[in-house]
C-alpha cells in the first residue's frame, strides 16, 4: 500500500492513539466540574494548552482548541468580522484559499461585508504588492493561507505579516493547516494575529485542532454556551482529542527537525521521475512545500486514474478532499491560469515523512503504466 494522500488526512501516530486511549480511560471528568475528576481533567487541559503554546511559540492563553481546521478558520474569520465591523467591513483573502475560508468570506458578503479575493500569479502565489494595494481604510481582516492545499505553494505570509504589523487596525489570519509541521512559521512579532492548525493533517486525530488567537484579540464566538476556553469556544472540551493533538504536534515538530531534508529529497525524486514521463505536466513550481506535488495528465479524467491506481493499492487524490464532489475543475488551478485541459485533469500527490524512496519509484512506474493501459483502452 502506498498512501500519497497525506494532505487529505494522515494516519495517526501510534503514540497519538495511546494518548487518546489513556485520557479516555483515566480522565473522563468534565474540566468545568469542580470536584477531583473535573480538577484532574482541568489540570490536564491546562498542561496540554501549555505544551501546545510552547510548541507554537506563543503564550498559553493564546491557544484555543477547536474541532478542526474548518472551525478554526470559521471562528477566526467570522469572529473578527462580527466583532470589529464597527471599524470597517472589508476583508482581503485570495482565490486559492481552502473552502472553509472562501465560504466563510462569502457568507460575510451576504451580511454586507465586502471581500476582495486576490488573484495569484502564474506560479500560484499571491503577490505581496496586490495585498498592499487592496488595503483600504475599511479593511479589518486579511486571511491568507501559508501553504496551498492543492499546489503546495508557499504564500508570502511573513512579508504580509510584517506589513500588517504596522497597521494595528487590520487583523491577520493565516490558515496553517497544510504548513504546520512542514514549513516553520513564527508567531512572534510576525504580525500574525490568528493561525489555524488541524490535528488530522499532522498524524493526529480527526475532530481536533487549534486556533492561535493573539492576546487582546476580540472575537465574536462561533458557538455560544458555557463559555469554556476563555469565552471563545463553548462546549465541553474534547480532552482526549486535545491531549492527542498536542502529542501529534510534538512528534511532527521533532520529525520536521530531523527529516525536513529527507522530505525535500522525496519531492525532488518524485518531480524528476514524473518530469521524465512525457504526458505528465507538473503544476507545482520548484522549491515549494516538500509534501505536495500537483500534476495534470491532460486528456484523462482524474477519477479514472485514481481508481486504477487504487486497484494497485496506491492512493492519491484529485484536489482538496473538501471539494472532491463538485465538478472536476480545480478552482485553484483555474485561478493560477492553467489551460482548461490541465485544470480538469489535475492530480495531487501528498507525502508524509514516513513515505520512502521505493514507494516513489513504484508510484511513478505504476502511474506511467496505468496511463498507458488507459490510453490503449481509449484507443
Amino acid at each position: 500500500m502506498i498512501y500519497f494522500d497525506n494532505s487529505a488526512t494522515t494516519k495517526p501516530f501510534p503514540e497519538v492513539l495511546e494518548s487518546f486511549l489513556k485520557v479516555s480511560q483515566q480522565f473522563y471528568g468534565n474540566p468545568s466540574s469542580i470536584h477531583r475528576f473535573g480538577i484532574d481533567a482541568e489540570n490536564l487541559l491546562r498542561k496540554a494548552q501549555n505544551q501546545a503554546s510552547e510548541l507554537f511559540g506563543v503564550e498559553q492563553e493564546e491557544i484555543v482548541f477547536t474541532s478542526g481546521g474548518t472551525e478554526g478558520n470559521n471562528m477566526a474569520i467570522k469572529g473578527i468580522a462580527l466583532a470589529h465591523q464597527n471599524k470597517g467591513r472589508h476583508i482581503i483573502t485570495t482565490e486559492i484559499e481552502h473552502p472553509s475560508v472562501i465560504e466563510a468570506c462569502k457568507s460575510l458578503e451576504t451580511l454586507g461585508f465586502t471581500v476582495t479575493y486576490l488573484p495569484v500569479d502564474s506560479n500560484g502565489i499571491v503577490k505581496f504588492a496586490d495585498v498592499k494595494q487592496a488595503i483600504t481604510k475599511e479593511t479589518i481582516l486579511v486571511s491568507i493561507m501559508h501553504v496551498n492545499n492543492e499546489l503546495g505553494t508557499i504564500q508570502p505570509v511573513e512579508a504580509i505579516g510584517k506589513m500588517l504589523k504596522e497597521m494595528p487596525r487590520i487583523y491577520f489570519h493565516v490558515d496553517h493547516v497544510q504548513g504546520y509541521g512542514k514549513i516553520p512559521l513564527d508567531m512572534n512579532g510576525t504580525g500574525i494575529d490568528l493561525c489555524t492548525v488541524s490535528g488530522h493533517k499532522i498524524h493526529g486525530l480527526k475532530g481536533t485542532g487549534l486556533l492561535y488567537v493573539k492576546k487582546g484579540t476580540k472575537l465574536f464566538p462561533l458557538l455560544h454556551g458555557g463559555n469554556q476556553q476563555s469565552n471563545l469556544r463553548s462546549g465541553t472540551e474534547n480532552l482526549a482529542g486535545i491531549v492527542s493533538l498536542v502529542k501529534a504536534m510534538r512528534l511532527i515538530t521533532e520529525k520536521s527537525k530531523t527529516h525536513s531534508e529527507y522530505l525535500k529529497e522525496l519531492n525532488q525524486q518524485l518531480r524528476a521521475e514524473l518530469l521524465a514521463i512525457s504526458f505528465i505536466k507538473i503544476n507545482t513550481i520548484e522549491d515549494q512545500a516538500p509534501h505536495i506535488l500537483n500534476i495534470s495528465i491532460p486528456g484523462y479524467k482524474p477519477e479514472v486514474i485514481i481508481h486504477a491506481l487504487g486497484e494497485r493499492d496506491i492512493f492519491i487524490s484529485t484536489k482538496s478532499a473538501c471539494s472532491s464532489k463538485k465538478t472536476d475543475e480545480s478552482a485553484v488551478l483555474k485561478a493560477v491560469g492553467f489551460s482548461h485541459d490541465r485544470t480538469i485533469s489535475a492530480l495531487r500527490i501528498s507525502l508524509s515523512y514516513y513515505n520512502t524512496k521505493e514507494e516513489i519509484e513504484l508510484f511513478s512506474r505504476s502511474l506511467q503504466r496505468v496511463v498507458q493501459q488507459l490510453s490503449k483502452v481509449m484507443g
Partner: protein, 380 residues
C-alpha cells in the same frame, strides 16, 4: 481511596467497548470520507452506518441526522440556523429560563441581533407550563426551543404536548434532548419535534461529538462554512472515529436500556432511602414523579453549597451544584433560582446527584452514608 463519581449528567465515563470500537478506525480506516479512493470510501461507509444507527435511535431517517462536535454546536446550529433562515416569517423565538447555557446564551445573542425572545418561566415542580407557551405564541413566532429533561433537576418537560400544540403553527420545534437521550423514549414523530440535539459524552461515548436531527423541509442556515460534508449543513472533515464510538455507545444504551434504567432507578432509591434512614433533613427539588431515573437534585436545609461541595469532594464524592458548563464557577443555580425565586435558600444549599456507568450498589450506600454524615455535621 477511589472516589465515587455521582456526576454523570456533567459527563460520563467512556464505555470500554466504545474505545475498542474506535481504535481500529483510527489505525486502519483513517481515510478522509470525502476522498474517492478506497480509504475514503471505507471511512464513508462507517459514517453511513453510524448515521443509520443514530437515526433509528430516534425513529428518524438517516438523511435527517447531522453529526456535530457536540451538544453545544448542535444547539447553536438549531437556534442560529433556523432564526436566520426564517427571519422573513417572523422574529419571535420562545425558549425557557431553565435551558442549558448552549441554548440560553445563543438566544441572548439572537436578542442582541434584533430577535425577540420570550423566556418561559418554570413552575415549582421544575416543569414549564404548556399554557404559558400557548399564551406566548404569536404569528411572529418562528422557533420554540424547550429541553426534554432539565440537566440540573432531572425534571422531564412536556415535550410531546408542546409538539402537539405546535403542529398547526409555523414555528419550528427544537428540543435539547442531551439529558433525555438513552433514558426517555425518543420518537421524533410522536414528539412532533423538528430539531433534536444529542451529545455523545453524556451516554458513555467520546467527547467532541453529537448529532442534530433536522426534519425534512426545515429551513436552516449553517453556522460554519466550507466543504460540503453533512449535506452541506456542517462542514469539516468528519470525526469518523468519534462518530463510530458514538454509534457504539448508542447501540449499548439501546441494547440494555430497561435493565440499565432499573439499575439507576434503584441506585437513586437506595441513595434516598439511606439518607432517610440517617434522619437527614432534605428535600427533592422538582416533582419527584417527573424525574428521570439518573438525576436527583437535593436541598439540604441549613447548609451551603460551597462547603457541601468541598466536603463531599474531600470525602471522595464527586457531585455538582448544577450544570458543569458554568466553567468552574459556583454560582447559585439559575434553574433553582427560577423555580423558587433567587432569595430562596434552596438555591444555595442544593446538590445534583447523577448516577450511571461508574457506579455500583455498594458505592451508592457508601456515598449516601458519607453525604449524611457531612450534612449532619454542617447543618448542626
Amino acid at each position: 481511596m477511589d472516589a465515587i463519581y455521582l456526576d454523570h449528567a456533567a459527563t460520563s465515563p467512556v464505555h470500554p467497548d466504545v474505545i475498542e470500537a474506535m481504535l481500529p478506525v483510527m489505525k486502519q480506516t483513517f481515510g478522509n470520507p470525502s476522498s474517492i479512493h478506497q480509504y475514503g470510501r471505507k471511512a464513508r461507509q462507517l459514517l453511513d452506518q453510524a448515521r443509520s444507527v443514530a437515526a433509528s435511535s430516534i425513529h428518524a431517517n438517516e438523511k435527517n441526522i447531522i453529526f456535530t462536535s457536540g451538544g453545544t454546536e448542535a444547539d447553536n446550529i438549531a437556534l442560529l440556523g433556523t432564526a436566520w433562515a426564517n427571519k422573513s416569517k417572523g422574529n419571535h423565538i420562545i425558549t425557557t429560563v431553565i435551558e442549558h447555557h448552549a441554548t440560553l446564551r445563543t438566544a441572548e445573542s439572537l436578542e442582541k441581533q434584533g430577535f425577540e425572545v420570550t423566556y418561559l418561566p418554570v413552575q415549582q415542580s421544575g416543569q414549564v407550563s404548556v399554557k404559558d407557551l400557548r399564551d406566548a405564541l404569536t404569528d411572529q413566532t418562528i422557533l420554540v426551543s424547550v429541553m426534554m429533561v432539565n440537566n440540573e433537576t432531572g425534571v422531564k418537560q412536556p415535550i410531546q404536548e408542546i409538539g402537539e400544540l405546535l403542529i398547526d403553527h409555523q414555528a419550528y420545534f427544537h428540543t435539547d434532548a442531551v439529558q433525555a437521550y438513552g433514558i426517555c423514549d425518543l420518537d421524533v414523530n410522536v414528539l412532533n419535534v423538528d430539531l433534536l440535539t444529542v451529545s455523545s459524552h453524556k451516554v458513555n461515548g467520546p467527547k467532541g461529538v453529537g448529532f442534530l436531527y433536522i426534519r425534512d423541509g426545515v429551513q436552516i442556515n449553517t453556522i460554519q462554512f466550507g466543504g460540503e460534508q453533512e449535506r452541506k449543513r456542517r462542514p469539516g472533515t468528519e470525526n469518523v472515529a468519534n462518530i463510530v464510538g458514538f454509534k457504539k455507545a448508542i447501540e449499548l444504551i439501546a441494547g440494555e436500556k430497561d435493565q440499565r434504567l432499573r439499575k439507576y432507578q434503584s441506585y437513586k432509591q437506595t441513595f434516598l432511602e439511606t439518607l432517610k434512614e440517617l434522619n437527614l433533613d432534605f428535600a427533592i427539588n422538582g416533582e419527584e414523579e417527573q424525574l428521570v431515573p439518573t438525576i436527583v437534585n437535593i436541598s439540604f436545609p441549613g447548609t451551603n453549597v460551597e462547603s457541601l461541595l468541598m466536603n463531599f469532594d474531600l470525602a471522595g464524592i464527586a457531585v455538582s451544584s448544577g450544570s458543569a458548563c458554568t466553567a468552574g464557577s459556583i454560582e447559585p443555580s439559575h434553574v433553582l433560582s427560577e423555580m423558587f425565586g433567587s432569595e430562596d435558600e434552596r438555591t444555595v444549599n442544593s446538590i445534583r446527584f447523577s448516577f450511571g456507568l461508574a457506579n455500583n450498589e455498594k458505592q451508592i450506600i457508601e456515598a449516601a452514608t458519607k453525604v449524611g454524615a457531612i450534612v449532619n455535621r454542617l447543618a448542626s
